[in-house]
Symmetry: C2
Subunit: 148 residues, 2 copies
């Protein structure tokens, strides 16, 4: 049995293999790290994780890999109102979630909601434009912070 993350890794590798890209260690490490995550990581966090895992990868290569993956729709760039952007694997079937950030502790929780997606699709339909992506971000106080 393979986790969704492992599935994404092999999907991504297959897709890249068939597009004239060389298979480099740096790229492989970034992809494997992203695939192992259950939520978004920033470039900094990626650099740090790879460093402590003994797979140090240059910052430039990390950004280059992220850019390449975003361009191919394999990951999504997410802006959570912090200084740095975060990145998260996108499931090939289009399944995705959104985020709620606690303005007190900064913690991020993921959620998904079919009704919300339907409402967004309906808006997209109405506009004189082709909508091909959307972000939703909720901000507030998480349960833990509210309790303390």
């Amino acid at each position: 049995m393979s986790s969704p993350g492992e599935h994404w890794i092999s999907y991504t590798n297959d897709l890249l293999a068939g597009s004239g890209l060389r298979k480099s260690a740096a790229r492989t490490h970034v992809i494997e790290l992203l695939g192992a995550q259950h939520c978004a990581l920033s470039a900094q966090e990626i650099e740090h994780h790879l460093g402590t895992d003994g797979h140090r990868v240059g910052r430039a290569s990390i950004y280059r890999t992220l850019e390449m993956l975003v361009a191919r729709g394999l990951i999504k760039r997410i802006d959570m109102g912090r200084a740095e952007a975060s990145f998260e694997a996108t499931m090939p079937d289009g399944h995705h979630h959104h985020h709620m950030v606690c303005s007190q502790c900064g913690n991020v929780a993921a959620f998904d909601d079919p009704q919300l997606e339907a409402a967004i699709d309906a808006v997209a339909e109405r506009l004189s434009a082709t909508v091909n992506d959307h972000d939703v971000l909720l901000r507030g106080i998480c349960g833990t912070c509210a309790a303390s």
Copy 2:
């Protein structure tokens, strides 16, 4: 008859007058510029506009004013996936809109949709957290770009 923007300006000034802040030229200019806008402006754009209007205001003061207005909920910081953040007056009655950014020309269109708001409220209800703000951002190709 006063435009919604003028209404926001006087509302904002009244609110600030009653909170121990001195009335400074720099702050007044930023507030009046924001009130005159129909959509979001970035700090850079504010600096540039004020400069060409002959009301040059130091960058530090612009950021300070924006921070102060955000803290009081008088404007909202909006991240459109560009390098810089944008800022937009918030209507006292809570009425607001969201944005659609064209990934080709960068143009921004505003829209609002009660159903979408309802869907977000419903999600917020479900979560074990107090949601007090949200962003929605659509990305795609605008009508103009699609036509050309």
